[in-house]
Symmetry: D2
């Protein structure tokens, strides 16, 4: 397992658990939960960062050598807004990495496939490392890969629902076909869901609500850390196949008992 | 978590992962996988032990201070045979713990509820610590508890199928009602399944096929170890609730972008 | 399909939809819903029938040549009470058919496997046609068959939940092994669930809550009627196999377009 | 139910079951299965029609007043090919209705969201009634509606798999948000799946493989017909709610038995 490193663009990650910063009740608690999770890539919503203030509370708490910030474009509704937001983020946070989220739908925050592809193409040409959040749509994933997205981030279930891998059948196809890392994003509500994604062969998962909203975010951060490692180890060790009702008949004990 | 000890009868367990010894390709590999899993309770099929031979290969490999042997009655078809087998096991392995398995069905190895209850009652009266393997039947679990079974071991799916928690709805009721530890047995085919059982509130899980049949049983044993810990931590930290389609609407970024 | 008749004991049924009489808002509505469903076997709870009153409102509404009454023992807690209730029912309703329900659990009304088997054996010896309501436990089903139960009635999900076939994996085994008709009882909350049970090869289904609690029980009765027929036809016509992700590649249209 | 007519563009449909013509072993059998299904809209793959031959076998069999032909663009790989194919189809089959299918992926035949939206917009401007086959992507559905697609046809599972409504969580959102009819396409492998889609509120379903590949396509066609009607009736009559484990406690029978 020593060499089982995840590489996206030019960065290497020891941890395959990415985390978000929304919904925590306090910044200090957020920091401790993220540290417990050992996550090395942490999304921040540009709109929640006061980019003019270098004393910004959230950013202050996330200053840590092991933590890479990944600004997201949450709140934008089309490609044009996304590109503008990404440029702001690059300037403010001094990173060319961007989590591309375009969701015109204010209710379910589901991503727009067409605008996402358009924005991804432009952002790649502008030198960004683009990590697009999308529906678990295998064809869209291939197209994003073709325009230069450095990974794809298909959703497991509508964001914030904690429902787990409702898109499992499609994630399997995406993982089978993808030449860039596949990061399952949204819907992961329990460590078992994270482990399941890793067992399928996902390269990483992104978890936010499930950690932030738990009664004990620090313990939950650690639980997710271990579940992701467990799922990855199981993937590498190969799961036993699922059998359809076929138990292996055992010889009866009777002969032994009465011999 | 320091005090989160599992207690069955008079024994305390640091590990909530119980393991089986069937289907491994070699005894030494079995031993290493069990050590990697940190399991402290390990089932052995009486019929696979040469009780007259104190050089028996399997038993030799399982001699370890941290490992408690749990003989099972696999292969018996009714209560009478089970009681006899348990007595043999007590003598041979010098333990009054018994995993009670009565499966007249040679194809799916599913347990017999009526014979199991009858045998449990008698074995308790004979001084055994009885751990019955049963269908995920909440009423049967209560009756076993009433006759003195020290835990209940409902199945997740038919044994050897690796299908996971197909009985989840009933496991939830069993866990809600039980006053003795609930150990989910059979069907757990992946670390994510084990984590899920623990997240539901199961007290422990028993895993055999999934570890033994993996390409790398040692790594898989460790993966299960971590998944069980992760699931237990998540249970204690409380999972975020599952929401039905309701994403929390975010404020649009627009105002920020153009202010 | 003309000869696809269901036979239980000495009775033949054209309809494979059995219905219950609980939870309807009015007796007249109940009658119309049952007529719309074309159900020929209708359960009545003994305790809700005033057996001394031959003007009893519910019974009055169910007097119909095509409808066979099936008294149930709902409310009893053990075999002794069940046998007594069955005898009362035989006298009051002049039928030796009995739906055997023993649920000591007042919360989830889940059945007791041990008492049910004991009562079934005794009732068979007393000349009853015994239809036992049980957990989806394949071994218990075989034992009930062995003591002479004329069918088995495994549950799909806890009664009243409308969750559908949560026990599907076990129903498949029961159907495969049973020599008496298998009637899926409890949990069927939608016509699609009833169709699914029939597609699996169940011989009939029993539906109550889903019809009674609908906004339009008469239409719902008819909907279930059609779904059961559809599911049975599909079973007889053989479903196409479920394929794992394998679409059949189509030849590209291109050659055609540009030839 | 008398007025429960489905309207797409200017056409009214009594049947909410659309069917396909692929994979049948013979044209005459296909015809009889479609007649038994009472389907009024039948897809034909342009590439399988010999458009220059007015004696074409398949078309000959589908000449029926009640059957509307719906040519599809199966086999095209991008918007440009799709528009060209649609124009050919309009000329050959004298209909401006087109089922828009663009799947560059030759293995799973999954649709391309970006090319589909582009083609839909152009085809609408050319006067076509556009019925796009797409992933169950709620945002894409809204965008197709905005460019004038007369319905949306989200998939339930990868085509040909017969896996049922794997996209159920997303279909619910699509149905909730759509202002045009929602036709669930692909993956429906059993009448129970079709009934489930209708119970969710889908306006229609399209079934092909499940009928064509059955051992008895004519009976299966009729089974689907009834399942679709049953599901629609249940939707209109409102399903009883799914309850989480809560059975309604019944009063014990004991008082009655011994009073």
């Amino acid at each position: 397992m020593k060499n089982d490193i995840l590489k996206i663009a030019d960065k290497e990650f020891n941890s395959r658990l990415f985390t978000g910063t929304g919904k925590f009740s306090a910044s200090e608690l957020m920091k401790q939960a993220i540290v417990a999770s050992e996550s090395e890539l942490v999304t921040v919503a540009l709109k929640r960062v006061d980019v003019k203030d270098d004393q910004d509370d959230m950013l202050f708490h996330l200053r840590d050598n092991r933590i890479n910030l990944l600004p997201n474009t949450s709140g934008v509704r089309n490609a044009k807004e996304a590109v503008f937001a990404a440029q702001l983020a690059r300037e403010a946070l001094e990173t060319n990495w961007i989590k591309l989220e375009i969701h015109p739908d204010p209710k379910y925050l589901l991503p727009d496939p067409v605008e996402t592809l358009k924005a991804a193409e432009e952002l790649v040409s502008l030198g960004f490392v683009v990590m697009p959040y999308i529906h678990a749509d295998p064809v869209l994933c291939k197209r994003l890969e073709e325009v230069g997205a450095q990974c794809v981030m298909p959703l497991g279930a509508p964001i914030g629902t904690n429902k787990g891998l409702k898109t499992r059948d499609f994630l399997e196809i995406i993982i089978e076909q993808s030449k860039v890392p596949v990061v399952v994003d949204a819907g992961i509500g329990a460590p078992s869901h994270a482990a399941e994604a890793m067992e399928l062969g996902a390269d990483a998962v992104l978890v936010n609500t499930a950690i932030a909203v738990s009664q004990n975010p620090i313990a939950m951060g650690e639980a997710f850390k271990m579940a992701v490692i467990a799922g990855r180890m199981a993937y590498n060790a190969r799961l036993a196949p699922v059998e359809d009702k076929k138990a292996i008949a055992s010889s009866p004990l009777t002969s032994f008992l009465y011999e």
